[in-house]
Amino acid sequence: MHIPDGYLGPATCGFFYVVMLPVWTAASRIVKKTLKARQVPMLAIGAAFSFVIMMFNLPIPGGSTGHAVGGVLVAILLGPWAACIAITVALVIQALLFGDGGITAIGANCFNMAFVLPFVGYYVYRAISYNALKDSNRRVAAAFIAGYIGINVAAFLAGVEFGIQPLLHHTSGGQALYCPYGLNAAVPAMSVEHLLLFGWVEALVTALVVKYLQKQSPELLREGEVS
């Protein structure tokens, strides 16, 4: 889901930078109010986890690859705004140092994976785990469903961003200038592979870690509930 340089035209790239600037500003402001100093190591662990889990490319045999993001988990544990900051840092380093995701697409990639994904996942989790005890299985189920839905909404949006390019930018001869695949190809491609495989991985990773933390440190599962 790391959109490279050259797939999105300048309008789309600029648009998502403009959308993300107030999001990043709000994230810093809100995290400044809510993040406790002793939670900072967890935030670093969350960013590290997201970074490394995105390196676990899984194959669709004979087809493409993809991966989990881990962002729903970070949002459950530290709140969606803190997750936004942690995943943004991971995505920026992936783009700058490793060329994973384009620098012109940092706004769009952060919108999908550092904003939409943790927020959707977080609110799905909160809705399903509403009033659940810290050690209840409903929290594990909520984490599973939240992971699945969070990454799938993000993948769908990435598909839309790819897919609108041929409409926005093409030569007079009809050749695309950026991503050549339209909505009818990009949205199904991104969605189907995440609905069938990568979404379940995000779901499983999120649920397993929540299950583990229920045993190890159940109070953590309440600390993310900041708003």
Binding site: Q39, F56, G63, S64, G99, A189, M190
Partner: protein, 111 residues
């Protein structure tokens, strides 16, 4: 052991296992992620390289492109796996330092 210590060990284990993210796609003959093809691959897929894509795709020269050291492309999977682990370690070190700095600036002191 403190929980954070256990979680750091978990991260270290994931770093060491990270080459699975390289070896599994290779084993199952899976290509790049959808929408992350190089310009050459794009030529094969749609028969031309979109002009804007050709221009922008080489905009940024990452120092460790695709988690592999430059010039190691032909060195085989063990070497690439090693580079993948080192890349994960370097990336995480930088990410962690940045988040600790941001966290220090933003977090509430005293509790």
């Amino acid at each position: 052991m403190k929980l954070t210590a256990k979680l750091w060990i978990g991260i270290a284990v994931l770093i060491v296992l990270s080459p699975l993210g390289l070896l599994l796609p290779e084993h199952f003959k899976a290509g790049s992620a959808w929408g992350e093809w190089g310009a050459g691959q794009m030529q094969q897929l749609v028969g031309y390289i979109p002009k804007g894509l050709a221009k922008l795709s080489s905009l940024w020269q990452a120092p460790i492109p695709d988690y592999a050291f430059k010039g190691w492309e032909e060195k085989g999977l063990p070497a690439l796996s090693f580079a993948y682990i080192i890349s994960a370690a370097i990336g995480i070190l930088i990410v962690v330092l940045l988040v600790l700095i941001i966290g220090k600036v933003l977090s509430r002191k005293g509790d």
